[in-house]
Structure formats: C-alpha cells, structure tokens
C-alpha cells in the first residue's frame, strides 16, 4: 500500500470507524486508540487487505471491531461477549436527555448485538457486509439485530410510548 493509498483510505473511512468504535466502547479516548491502532496495523502490514474478499470499508470495520472487543474484554472482563440471548429491562427516563438514555440503552446491549445494531442502524451498512466484517453468517447477524431491536424496544419503552402518544398513534 502506497502512502497516497493509505491517506485516501484514512480520509475516506476514519469517521465511520471512529463513530463505530465510539459507540462500541462508549469512550472517546478508547475509540481514538482503537482507530489509531487499526490504521497502524494497515500501514505496517500486520493486517493484509485482500480486495477479492470485499470492500476495504468492511475489512477496516472488522479490524476495528476486533480491536474494540479486545479492549472491552480486557477492561470490562465481566461483559459476556457471546451472550446473544441477554435481555435488558426498561430504563428509567427520569428527566435526562433522550440522547443519553439511548446511548445508555445501546451500551447495555451485549457486544455482539451492539455491533450489529450500530453498523446497521447508524452506519447503514448492508447486512452482508456486516456479516463479513464481524466474521459471522448472515442469519446470525439478522438474529442479533432482531434481538438488539427487541431489547431496545423494551429498554426504551417509556420513550417510545410517550412519542407514540404525542404523535397520536397510541
């Protein structure tokens, strides 16, 4: 990879990778570390991109995802990574800002559900690309996404209901 190729890849994907890492880890510093490490690995050749295996974006998301999960496992070793069936109870909206409540709800999801939701809902990546990035099959990603939405509906029920009532739909 030439310097120009690297710079182009960095400029093109840095924001998506940073937002993804930020939402996965919940920390600006950790997100910056993770994305920095991702590009360092790309530049030093420690990870090798093969164009025949899909677009560079999905590849970099996969590298960022692995680094973020490694950091999360190290720093919050009690988080069950494989806990696909975990369910979350409703959050208390009290009088906090809605964005913060949503952030807390997403952060409460098990990591595998969280990554599927972030990539699908926030970054609008196709499910096939998500599956390639996270090294899972399409059915698993669909299932995680479904569970993530169910969990979020349950956690955010008070906000969804009030919104529904305000719109006159409930």
């Amino acid at each position: 990879m030439t310097g120009a190729d690297f710079r182009e890849a960095y400029e093109q994907h840095k924001d998506l990778l940073y937002r993804f890492a930020r939402r996965m880890t919940g920390s600006n510093e950790m997100a910056e570390d993770v994305v920095h490490e991702c590009f360092l690995q790309l530049w030093s050749g420690r990870v090798a991109y093969q164009p025949e295996r899909g677009p560079l974006r999905g590849f970099l998301v996969g590298v960022t995802r692995n680094l973020a999960l490694k950091r999360l496992t190290r720093e919050r070793s009690f988080d069950p990574l494989q806990d696909d069936i975990a369910t979350c109870g409703p959050l208390d909206p009290a009088d906090r800002e809605r964005g913060l409540i949503v952030a807390q709800a997403v952060a409460s999801l098990p990591p595998l559900q969280r990554e599927a939701l972030i990539l699908a809902e926030y970054e609008e990546m196709p499910l096939e690309e998500i599956a390639r990035s996270v090294g899972a099959d399409l059915a698993a990603v669909k299932s995680r996404l479904h569970r993530a939405r169910e969990n979020l509906r349950r956690m955010l029920a008070p906000l969804l209901e009030s919104k529904g009532r305000a719109n006159g739909t409930r």
Binding site: N28, H36, S44, G99, A103, K163
Partner: protein, 105 residues
Amino acid sequence: MEHGEDHELRNLLREWSVPDAPPSLDRRVLAGRHSGNAWWRFLLTGSIRIPVPVGIAFVAALLVLLGGTLRQRNAPAPAPSTVSLVDFHPVSDLNVRVIRRHDAN
C-alpha cells in the same frame, strides 16, 4: 405495526449522535505513519511472524548448538605433555659389557 415500531425506534436511536474523528486522530495516524518507517523503531518495537515448523527447527538447531558447545567445554582435558615417572623402576643389576666388533663375530 412492526414497520411503524421499527420506524419509531429508528427515529429515537437517531437522537444519539456521536462526533466524527477528532483532529488529534489525524495527527496520531499521519505522524505515526512517517515515524513508523524508521528502521530503529522496528528494531525496538517490531515483531515478525514465523511459521511454527520453522520456529521449532530454529529452536532445535539452537539446542543442538548449545549442547555441542557445552559438551566441548566439559570434555576431559588432553594429556599433559610431561612424562609421569610413577611406573619407572631404576635398573638394580647393572652389569656393563662392552662388545667389540671381533667379539661379535
């Protein structure tokens, strides 16, 4: 209903926004790229991947070499160049006889 709920959930999720990559990341990544080329940095922090069989062969060769060196070091020292006189017995019956040529014939 399901689609309506999905739409409602999606709208709610959009209320959580996060910033794009900060300028400090640009500095770290782009500066790190240049300093990352330094050979001395590789010598200090670099790593290489080697296949397991090559690693095993290397370690085995190293052990053989080490064993050879140790054996060489522990081998008995060569015999000293001085002559031992432990088994030397001096002649006790000295009887000198001079043989001349015509005596021999």
